[in-house]
């Protein structure tokens, strides 16, 4: 297991150097986006933010306004597979280098990662407090009116946000590997 520090914006070379099983810590800018955003982009919509070389986080954070400033109270990952029909297209359209979520994604996204130079990172599901601690500042929000708070695009400044590479840009998928091995192991134990 290798620990890599990533600073946004991230170059394709850096992404290509990552492999399944690596531990990464992201510092810089991360945007949230989940179901509504993916569907919106797929239907031809465009966002008022530039995410080229950036990071999209599948997350519906708990945000509160304190003294006129947004503060993030909890920010764990949500299940990614719901975005499988749209993800590869969204990676290309926005020029993403990193998608963060939980539970992994399928073959279409894997092919997209390979073609466009992107990785899928798995954050620890349920670790809402630890991950919220890594968010140093909420820099802004778009689509808040249209999609509501959990589905809006939040621009977050993060420091050492920890994840594991579970799908790399070479077609590797930890999810596929573990599924195959565990199936084999179970067949022997039945």
């Amino acid at each position: 297991m290798m620990l890599m520090e990533l600073q946004t914006p991230i170059s394709e070379d850096v992404i290509r150097s990552l492999h399944v099983g690596d531990l990464v810590e992201i510092t810089g800018i991360v945007h949230t986006g989940r179901d509504a955003v993916h569907k919106f982009l797929h239907d031809g919509g465009s966002l008022p933010v530039d995410m080229r070389g950036g990071v999209l986080y599948h997350c519906g954070p708990v945000m509160v306004k304190e003294d006129g400033q947004w503060v993030c109270k909890a920010a764990g990952p949500t299940t990614s597979i719901r975005e499988e029909p749209y993800q590869a297209e969204v990676i290309q359209k926005l020029g993403l280098r990193v998608v963060i979520g939980k539970g992994g994604m399928g073959d279409k996204t894997s092919a997209g990662c390979k073609e466009f130079g992107c990785v899928y990172l798995h954050a620890v599901g349920g670790a809402a407090q630890v991950l919220a601690e890594c968010i140093k500042k909420v820099r802004g929000v778009s689509m808040l009116e249209e999609f509501g708070s959990p589905e809006a695009v939040w621009e977050l400044e993060v420091e050492k946000f920890p994840c594991v590479v579970t799908m790399d840009s070479h077609g590797g998928s930890l999810h596929k590997e573990v599924l195959a091995l565990s199936k084999e192991a179970l067949a022997k134990l039945l």
């Binding site: 519906g60 299940t79 620890v124 349920g126 407090q129 573990v178 192991a185 179970l186 134990l189």
Partner: protein, 294 residues
């Protein structure tokens, strides 16, 4: 009534922010068992840090505070309606204070009630006993990710080669573990029911989650099966979050109820590592806290 509401509010706060000891202990053992410098160790370390932080900040362990399941056991003649009213008030207040996320959505319109109150939410299970001294109130918060990987088998099931016997039940339960991998935020705990109809079987499988992880099943046969399922699941290499590793399950609790001759259900409820379960014994009127459970 005001005393009851306040006590239930504190029960909700504790359940959302503080893990039960029995689960914590098993998670600590799990961390020791994982190889160092692996993604499995990283996941468990993050989980531990998260548990500590949530307790310190008195904030939800996970942002999905889930289905709100009350299990209430009291003396004969207890006033269920008054209890429900107080509990609803406590739930709405807990939501306002951020101990609970707004989690009750109209299934047709998609509108969130904003209070966690609505048809079917929260959920109450009442039981009574002639000799019950006080009011035993237990609360489980069960997240959506893990609820989605719950599954019900109708045996025989030729897809997994499961017949109508304990061996078949074992196959069904282990298949559920395999299918849940990477989803539902493992390492998890299984609540299982053998028998019942479709509805009671699922309900009873969830009730198994009220048992502490270190208890023993009164049936030696089932006790052995519970241990064997955990040991076998932990040899599958699925690991925390499905990253690979040694800890796939933290526990498995199995109950049986009678079935119809024509039916043979095995229902599996999956609980994520963020196993939020707490309980309290109150005086019969609910106004005084006698002791905390778990």
């Amino acid at each position: 009534m005001a005393g009851l509401k306040d006590n239930l509010l504190e029960l909700i706060r504790r359940t959302s922010a503080e893990m039960p000891d029995d689960v914590n202990r098993v998670l600590i053992d799990a961390l020791k068992a994982e190889e160092q410098r692996t993604t499995a160790e990283f996941a468990l370390k993050t989980i531990h840090a998260n548990i500590e932080l949530a307790k310190k900040k008195s904030q939800p362990i996970c942002q999905d505070t889930g289905s709100i399941l009350f299990y209430v056991h009291g003396p004969v003649g207890g006033d269920q309606l008054t209890f429900e009213e107080a509990a609803r008030e406590a739930v709405a207040e807990a939501t306002k204070r951020g101990f609970l996320r707004q989690n009750s959505v109209d299934s047709l319109t998609g509108k969130n009630s904003g209070t966690n109150l609505g048809p079917g939410t929260p959920v109450f299970h009442f039981t009574q006993a002639r000799d019950a001294a006080g009011l035993d109130v237990r609360l489980i918060l069960k997240g959506g990710g893990c609820e989605n990987v719950g599954v019900q088998y109708s045996l025989p099931d030729s897809r997994i080669g499961a017949d109508r016997d304990l061996k078949g039940c074992r196959r069904a339960i282990l298949d559920a573990v395999l299918q849940a991998q990477g989803k539902g935020c493992g390492p998890g705990v299984l609540g299982v029911c053998i028998g019942g109809d479709r509805a009671t079987s699922y309900a009873f499988s969830k009730e198994q989650l009220l048992r502490t992880l270190d208890d023993h099943n009164p049936s030696p046969e089932l006790d052995a099966l519970e241990h064997e399922i955990v040991a076998t699941a932990n040899q599958l290499g699925i690991g925390p979050m499905g990253f690979g590793g040694r800890t796939t399950l933290l526990g498995c609790k199995i109950g049986v109820v009678n079935r119809l001759p024509a039916s043979y259900f095995v229902s599996v409820s999956y609980m994520c590592w963020a196993f939020r379960r707490r309980g309290v014994v109150l005086s019969a009127d609910g106004g005084r806290i006698e002791k905390w459970l778990y």
